[in-house]
């Protein structure tokens, strides 16, 4: 039983670390703000979840795990909202995303494919 739990928390923690690292590489390597934003915000959410899940598996069900669940809930609530507000502020103050194609082209393409 313990081996199973240990193995599961290993898997969870490793997935979490992998996601976090990919987000960090994304934030460092991508060329433009919106792509960086995308990399960071998407990976952050799942990274937090997996690492906390690994820790909950290790601690068992007690006050600590309840607090961990609170941490995850808080980060899940605040993270996406912060990302949304960040992108919104950036867009409104005039930082335009670099689009490969214009909006008109993309809508035309959508029509032709349907």
């Amino acid at each position: 039983m313990e081996i199973i739990i240990d193995g599961l928390s290993w898997i969870c923690l490793l997935i979490g670390c992998g996601l976090g690292l990919s987000g960090a590489i994304g934030i460092f390597r991508f060329k433009e703000f919106y792509t960086r934003m995308h990399a960071a915000s998407v990976t952050d959410t799942l990274c937090v979840f997996f690492i906390a899940a690994g820790m909950i598996l290790q601690s068992g069900f007690n006050l600590v795990s309840v607090k961990l669940i609170f941490v995850v809930a808080l980060l899940w609530l605040t993270g996406p909202v912060a990302s949304h507000a960040l992108v919104r502020a950036a867009y409104q103050t005039g930082l335009k995303p670099k689009l490969g194609i214009t909006r008109k082209q993309s809508s035309l393409r959508g029509k032709s494919s349907t």
Partner: protein, 91 residues
């Protein structure tokens, strides 16, 4: 052991985010890096509690998650009200 590996990974992530905060051409990159840094700090404190087998520091992690959010919101509100002169420059 598993928590040591996790801590190392989180430290690496924090280092990379710090590099982005130093380089960040626009202020939004810096805000993004700070946000990410804060999230990773929350995780760091939680995992460190487990690493030292005293997992009762989670109150601090909660406060961090909260404070980080407030900080980012304050910064964004500020940026929206006083649009920075450098924001419109090239990426």
């Amino acid at each position: 052991m598993m928590f040591a590996v996790t801590i190392m990974a989180i430290l690496v992530i924090m280092g990379i985010a710090l590099a982005r905060a130093f380089l960040g051409p626009t202020i939004y990159d810096r805000i993004l890096a700070v946000n990410m840094f804060g999230t990773k700090t929350v995780l760091f404190i939680a995992v460190y509690g487990f690493l030292t087998e005293r997992p009762d520091f989670l109150d601090i992690a909660l406060v961090y998650a909260l404070i980080n959010f407030i900080g980012v919101i304050a910064v964004l509100k500020f940026v929206e009200r006083y649009p920075p002169p450098t924001a419109t420059s090239k990426d």
